[in-house]
Amino acid sequence: MKKINITINGKKIPTFEGKTILESAEENGIYIPALCSHSDLKVKANCRICCVEVLGELVPACSTNVSEGMKVSTDSEKVKRARKTNLELLFAQHAEECHDCVWNGACDLLKIAEENKVRINKFKDRKQKFPVYQFGQIIQFDSSKCIDCGNCIEVCKMQGVGFLEKKNNKSFNQVSPSSKWNVDCIYCGQCITHCPAGAFEAKGEFEEIEEPLKNKSKKIIFQFAPAVRSSIGEEFGMKEGSVVTGKIVSALKKLGADKVFDISVGADFTTVFEAKEVVERIKKNKNLPVLTSCCPAWVRYVELHYPKLIKNLSTARSPHIILGGLIKTYWAEKNKISPKDIIVISIMPCVAKKYEILKPRLKIKGFKPVDYVLTAREFSRLVKSKKIDFKNLKPKKADNVFGDPSGAGIIYGASGGVMESAFRTAYEKLSGKKLKDVNFIKARGLKGIKEAEIKIGKDIKKIAVVSGLGNVKEILNKALEYTCIEVMACPGGCIGGGGQPMPVNDRIRQKRSESLYSLDRHKKIRRAHENPIVKEILKENLSRKIFHTYHDKEFKNKNKII
């Protein structure tokens, strides 16, 4: 790229040909307000908030390329007037409910409004009586908050789902759920994290977060996912990628947890059973490729659209379901507590996990392994509402016996982590040799599709790792080439999950993911099957049901208007 110079507000700035004004400004620390622009998505230039003045004309900074000697003004009278008016117009279609918004009042909409001294209620809300849709039991879309930027439609399409559509209603197009019989929401929640207006939220994201704590007569057991330990700090103003495992445990204890366990230990179990399954299927040459099944959004996608591949999904239960099951059986028995007196609550990076726990087939002896799922955002809101000073909490260790995972269990939170963990365990079983280097670099990183070949004895096995569900079609079209395919619905895996703190982009995902790999690197035990608690429990003759499940055809849920 050719290096060029431009001037922004009189300041000379180096940049490159082919970049937009917005990119050049951001890279040089100059702020231009923007709403519909998101680095994950294509430039749409819909909101017109980022307009700047060039040669007397207003142009959108997000879609205008720089040129040598270009003079840009970001705060001329013209810019201010147009920006203010456009903001007033946008607010006139956005029902403000800042007290219960996924952005917690930290949205760009409000920030830019304050900077520009905008009267946010200058006009009467156009969408006042617009409906709130509910997708299944999981996601709610309040269309009276929508500012028509189109991010949700695009990200839904990018996910390969296409459930959100533009529909025409009385001279206006509006975002609506698809009514096509074969298109349904998979609850990945990417619409939530890509909406600048907070129009999407998980069901109960506000009103129901305290419910689990109300069961005072019962043992309250919290367990937290691998991917939230490097993201939750963001909610409390800490640096992106900060590892806050110990603070999460402390905060949960303050919230009244009797025990706090680490779902990464559950992941170690998933790894062991999944690896076993891989080995068996390879030996029998049956139901290959093995498709991972920890991501409930992906599983739902297969169950909805690829019934023929259902038998390929791994039967190993997802980490928090296994751990929940163990808590209510093994642990309950050891501690002489009746499972009906235990409440298990998972802190997850995910909204689809809320859907997973509703599946009746996961019940063990009539008990749900997990009773509640709180997203990372919901957990943070709960902590804030109890006025707990998270940032300054003294870290605590998670409780035994499910408090100490292997490194393999921790990297589950990043795309490629499941594959790498399974590989560390399955390799020995398949080749009979010990793995020299446990690092499986080719499976790591934010790329949507990663492929690798593994040499085991004389055999070469092909594997694929997919994150961002839209990428999966390409791999499924040639599925038979592979032995194993890991799929996570969200870009970058669970670290980019729909229940994670906002905002999110590749830079932030990278930070969250790096922290997980660094935790793994510093662990003494890095193979799931070497975790002492795993070894111990495998010796016990526990019911197969705790560790395995089955998958079945799914059908479209009715979308309600509430």
Partner: protein
């Protein structure tokens, strides 16, 4: 006769018919020289402006010149194919004749999808490709990247008509005007290209005997402002000043824009809604209106939004 067709277009100062009056010769030149091997030509007969009838008139009476113009473009622009893109009724009436005239040439006659907006050049590309009826970001301009990302020449039916006439050495500095509204002889007329509005009304024996105003393009002209020339579509609508209710008229226009715009960008979608709201409630807050006009004109995504406020501002300033 000019040496080449492009020189001919340049010599006769043929301008685009969209309202931004881009010199046609330059457009042809750009597409001809653009990078890439495959090129496309779109003859735009999607006329969606209420009352304008000239494309239909040309297609009915002079289709051979239109096809001749496209033929010239095909010759001038290497490795190209053409589409004649017609609004639905024109398609039903004129497609058979056009197909017959275009026999043996790489010209396809196709039906327009969508409404008014689908006549805009980038939307036309979207429509022909079977994509969403929505304008595209510019740059890149269609002359660099239009249909299927290939350099594309999009011109109005009338521009190709002119090119055809020039090629045959018959062009006489004339163009078509639609005169309609409260006039005795509504219709499409061929007159000198540089005619002023007054002249057009007089020469077509349409100059009203009553007090009136006229809409010419996106401007409102009073009786004493008729010395102006009219560019773009060339459509003049005459209104009886005494019998026209400006509020009702603006409401109609606002509804038209609301129905026909794509709702993509905030200023056009929400701005026009607020304009209509204010007109309907008859509470015209001039400052707020001017702010909205300003935002629409300066920050709308496509020409529809950019040109929409003009007639409203004129009506309010000149008639209220």
């Amino acid at each position: 006769m000019a040496k080449s067709i492009i020189e001919g277009l340049k010599k006769h100062k043929i301008l685009g018919r969209s309202g931004c009056c881009y010199p046609s010769a330059e457009k042809w030149e750009k597409v001809k020289k653009a990078k890439g091997s495959k090129r496309y030509i779109i003859c735009n007969g999607s006329e969606g402006e209420p009352y304008s009838l000239k494309d239909g008139h040309i297609l009915k009476y002079y289709p051979e010149y239109v096809v001749e113009g496209i033929k010239q473009a095909l010759k001038e622009i290497k490795n190209s194919e053409a589409f004649i893109y017609l609004r639905k009724d024109y398609y039903w009436f004129f497609a058979p004749k056009l197909r017959k005239l275009a026999k043996g040439l790489p010209i396809a006659v196709i039906k327009k999808k969508g409404g008014y907006l689908a006549g805009e050049e980038t939307v036309a590309c979207q429509a022909i490709e079977g994509k969403e009826i929505e304008p595209r970001q510019r740059p890149p301009f269609v002359s660099e990247s239009g249909l299927w990302e290939c350099p594309t020449l999009v011109n109005n039916v009338e521009t190709f008509y002119c090119a055809g006439k020039i090629a045959r050495g018959e062009y006489k500095n004339e163009r078509f005007f639609t005169v309609t509204g409260k006039v005795p002889k509504k219709g499409v007329f061929m007159l000198d290209k540089d005619s002023a509005v007054k002249e057009i009304l007089e020469k077509t024996k349409n100059y009203p005997t009553f007090d009136f105003f006229a809409r010419a393009g996106s401007e409102i002209l009073l009786k004493n402002e008729l010395d102006k020339k009219i560019e773009g579509l060339g459509c003049i609508i005459v209104y009886d000043k005494k019998r026209t209710n400006p509020i009702k008229l603006m409401k109609k226009w606002a509804q038209f824009v609301l129905d026909e715009n794509c709702d993509k960008c905030a200023p056009c979608r929400e701005g026009m809604f607020r304009i209509k709201e204010m007109i309907s409630s008859k509470k015209l807050d001039k400052k707020t209106l001017e702010d909205i006009f300003f935002a629409m004109e300066n920050t709308s995504f496509c020409p529809l939004g950019k040109n929409a406020p003009g007639p409203f501002r004129d009506i309010i300033n000149k008639l209220m």
